[in-house]
């Protein structure tokens, strides 16, 4: 059985790598036009992302929220929903985490942290569950409604941090009161990387198990694959929709909590740092496979981490990393259409596998 599928496996490895190479070439062209040496840029990106242990830690710090955020798209995708409300769920999750953290101020740090995590999870979950409810009960397009909810979430954040929740001492950048150093999430032993990375990896692993190995995931895959078949099997499509949207939103909400509790220490406009849209891209590139999302998040985290050095050493605008990110994802999404198009990857049952 395994022997038969080696070509498929090879295809699944070669096509994304090929896409990455093509994206690098295109980006090189862009850099050349902008007046930088493409090869110098490549090596800078590599060094800034993965070159040293210290830079790799930077990459991992950025990868953690991306992993969590990607699940907000990847999980509902198994039910056939295209949700891009990750940004909003992160913001609402972060806000709610701060609110709980401040409310529990003075309790033991572990209690505060658990409370903040729960606050982020529940708020983010409900936020996206709202999208699911609109979809299932009122047939509102989930992509559009989740996108619009992003703007609402950001507006709520701005309103609260410059209003009721504002710390008067935050002058230039309106913020909430800080949760206090004692309540901040710690770092993994021997690193600068916070526990959010662990949350991300564990959440992706659990999401994979949930979808592939549990009856809940099975039911979701049926409903995502064919709604009519799901109805004939009596599956509660509405409940499944709500549950999976809640879980997706909960992961993004946890990402918001991690950003607040491990990086910023308070809620302000930095919460809205594009990890949501990054997560959407990660989910699509990973083809909604939670395990692949871990790797793709590290890759994208690396690209994001290299943005500073491009500006400093190559005199390129700081949006250059975003151009690279955009190119990578466009090419990777395009490469999806190439599956099954190459003769060498077609399964040939008659031919014995040879070393390619």
């Amino acid at each position: 059985m395994m022997v038969k599928h080696w070509r498929k496996t090879l295809e699944a490895i070669c096509i994304p790598i090929g896409a990455l190479l093509v994206a690098l070439v295109l980006f090189g062209g862009f850099c050349a036009i902008a007046g930088a040496n493409p090869f110098g840029v490549y090596s800078s990106i590599y060094r800034a992302a993965f070159g040293t242990w210290s830079s790799f830690q930077n990459t991992l710090i950025r990868a953690a929220p991306l992993m969590l955020s990607s699940l907000c798209t990847a999980l509902p995708a198994r039910l056939g929903l295209v949700i891009i409300g990750n940004e909003g769920a992160i913001v609402i999750g972060g806000l709610s985490a701060v609110a709980v953290g401040l409310f529990l101020d003075g309790s033991a740090p572990t209690i505060v942290q658990i409370g903040m995590a729960l606050g982020g999870i529940v708020a983010g979950g409900l936020w996206i569950a709202l999208v699911g409810a609109l979809r299932h009960y009122r047939a509102v397009n989930e992509t559009i409604s989740s996108l619009l909810l992003n703007y609402i979430a950001i507006a709520i954040l701005n309103q609260l941090v410059s209003g009721v929740m504002r710390d008067p001492s935050s002058l230039n950048k309106p913020s909430t009161y800080p949760i206090g150093m004692a309540s901040m999430l710690g770092t993994l032993p021997g690193t600068r990387v916070h526990y959010g990375l662990l949350f991300g990896i564990v959440a992706c692993g659990l999401a994979y198990l949930l979808i592939q190995r549990t009856t809940f995931g099975f039911a979701a895959r049926i409903a995502g694959g064919n709604l009519r078949a799901a109805r004939i099997a009596g599956l509660p499509v509405g409940k499944l929709t709500m549950a999976i949207c809640f879980l997706g939103g909960a992961c993004a909400g946890l990402a918001g909590m991690v950003e607040v509790a491990a990086v910023h220490g308070r809620a302000n406009e930095s919460l809205n740092a594009n990890y949501g849209y990054g997560g959407v891209l990660v989910a699509f590139v990973a083809r909604h496979n939670p395990l692949a999302a871990v790797l793709v998040s590290v890759l994208l985290g690396g690209i994001l981490a290299s943005s500073g050095i491009l500006q400093r050493s190559h005199n390129l605008p700081d949006a250059t990393a975003l151009v690279f990110q955009g190119l990578v994802f466009l090419v990777v999404l395009y490469s999806e259409s190439l599956y099954g198009k190459f003769e060498m990857f077609k399964e040939r049952s008659a031919i014995a596998p040879s070393v390619a």
Partner: protein
């Protein structure tokens, strides 16, 4: 007059000589010859996988034959694509519908043209279409979206498309599998007339001997890719054709119906109302009961509310009013109720209705049971058990699949049907079975198998509601026949006392 539809071009003479087609190591077609004379009605018989589709796909230019020739008007022609076939006046009506559901009949007809204009003058097109439709052998409202057509009407549209394209050689792939016998006879009769008048020649793939006997001039029988027999229909008997097709004398295996007194009501429907997709009422206050050990057949022309009735019972449509009771308890088709009352459904178009095409055979077989032991434990799937149970079902129901891990969408239509059948009939304690056109498009070995399974279930005391557009099927299987017309049940009779004339009149919507 229909003859106005055709330009002055002649109906071409089509000859196939020693045609062979090989796929890898599989010989799908082995040196088959066939002659379709102008103005003749030729039937192509054979079981699933006998090579009928391969043969017509070679003629249509979908496949390039490995060897052999296709002669048109005596000259060897290479048919590279369907549009080349169209230039020779050859057109095909497929078993599966090829119209765009969201577009109207008129739009679909214009779309089907090979020379679609860049700009469409709708006023002019509509005038031409109106004229075409008036002269056509059957009519469909031009402005209606295809999604609102019943299966029978969709099939008529497929045939109309070919007439509209001025095809002079019509290849029909089981054209009547979605039609009522009345509709089938009407359509084939009209085509027959055109053939006799020399306007058309028809090559029809069929499983139904009755239609072959009634309408075809000549018949070619294929078996396992080879020519198994050929001849004039008037010189052949059904038994002889069946023997060519199966390679042996066919013995009809019908399960004897046990005499049961149907007393315990299993399914009771009270004043049920349901709407069509477009919000118009499809079923109006329908009352019906099905007892244990009884097959209740619902006859009717497609599009009279049968689809909506089955969907309401299967959980795919929410009724607007009324109540469904199973075993005396209200039934809303939740998973728990389905399991408690052991309700199973054989829907039509199983791949669209009851399977997830990209999921594996084993996963599809587990659709009803994946959340219970032994296939799962505390919310976790036991994939090994699932696969083992699937293996057993694949063997018991002779599902032909490379493995249980193959996506069900890769299987042939008949095997998808068997997969659903295996899932729905394998439970020991079925109480209620709802079947809708369960034999659509299957060869007769499979039909016979499904029929015997349904009767066997009835003999075990299962209550069966059988909705079918095939009256012969209902007459063979049902204990009681009801006729549905315009969303209402307009006739009821025990099988012993049914009166075919009355049934026909009621199906056609006559009240007396």
């Amino acid at each position: 007059m229909l003859s106005d539809l055709y330009s002055s071009t002649q109906t071409p003479d089509l000859k196939v000589i020693d045609l062979a087609k090989q796929f890898g190591s599989l010989i799908a077609l082995d040196r088959v010859s066939l002659h379709l004379q102008p103005g003749s009605f030729h039937a192509l018989l054979g079981e699933n996988g006998a090579g009928k589709s391969t043969l017509v796909k070679c003629i249509m230019g979908f496949y390039q034959p490995t060897s052999g020739e296709i002669l048109i008007e005596g000259r060897s022609q290479e048919i590279k694509s369907p549009s080349v076939a169209h230039q020779f006046g050859i057109g095909m009506v497929y078993q599966h519908f090829t119209s765009v559901p969201a577009m109207t009949v008129a739009e679909n007809l214009v779309l089907s043209r090979f020379d679609s204009p860049k700009l469409i003058n709708w006023r002019q097109e509509m005038e031409q279409l109106q004229a075409f439709m008036e002269a056509a052998p059957f009519q469909i409202p031009l402005t209606r979206p295809v999604s609102q057509l019943a299966a029978g009407e969709k099939q008529k549209l497929e045939i109309l498309k070919q007439l509209y394209l001025k095809s002079r050689v019509l290849i029909l792939d089981e054209p009547t599998s979605v039609l009522t016998p009345g509709e089938a006879d009407e359509i084939l009769g009209l085509l027959r007339k055109e053939v006799t008048a020399g306007h058309l020649s028809v090559l029809m793939i069929s499983h139904k001997f009755r239609e072959v006997m009634a309408f075809a001039d000549e018949v070619t029988v294929l078996r396992k890719g080879r020519l198994a027999g050929q001849g004039f229909v008037k010189e052949l008997t059904i038994a002889a054709m069946a023997q060519m097709m199966l390679g042996e004398e066919r013995t009809a295996k019908t399960v004897a119906k046990a005499t049961l007194i149907a007393e315990t009501p299993v399914l009771e429907i009270h004043n049920l109302c349901a709407d069509k997709d477009n919000g118009l009422p499809a079923i109006a206050t329908l009352n019906l009961s099905v007892h244990s050990g009884e097959i209740v057949g619902i006859a009717g022309v497609s599009g009279n509310g049968q689809k909506e009735l089955v969907e309401s019972l299967a959980g795919q449509r929410v009724p607007t009013a009324g109540q469904i009771c199973v075993n005396g308890e209200p039934y809303t088709a939740t998973r728990a109720q389905m399991f408690r009352h052991q309700v199973f459904v054989l829907p039509e178009e199983p791949l669209q209705n009851a399977c997830v095409s990209h999921m594996s055979v084993s996963e599809n077989l587990a659709l009803r049971t994946f959340d219970r032991p032994p296939q799962s434990k505390q919310g976790f799937l036991l994939l090994r058990v699932m696969r083992q149970m699937a293996q057993t079902l694949v063997q018991t129901f002779s599902i032909r699949t490379p493995s249980v891990n193959t996506p069900v969408g890769n299987l042939s239509g008949g095997n998808v049907q068997r997969t659903v059948l295996a899932r729905e009939l394998s439970s020991d304690q079925i109480r209620l079975l709802i079947a809708s056109n369960p034999c659509f498009g299957l060869d007769f070995a499979a039909v016979e198998y499904i029929h015997s399974e349904i009767v066997a279930a009835r003999n075990r005391g299962v209550a069966v509601l059988l909705v079918s557009e095939d009256l012969d099927e209902l007459l063979t299987l049902a204990d009681r026949i009801l006729v549905m017309s315009d969303g209402k049940l307009v006739y009821e009779g025990a099988i012993a006392e049914v009166d075919l004339t009355t049934i026909g009149r009621r199906m056609a919507g006559h009240s007396s």
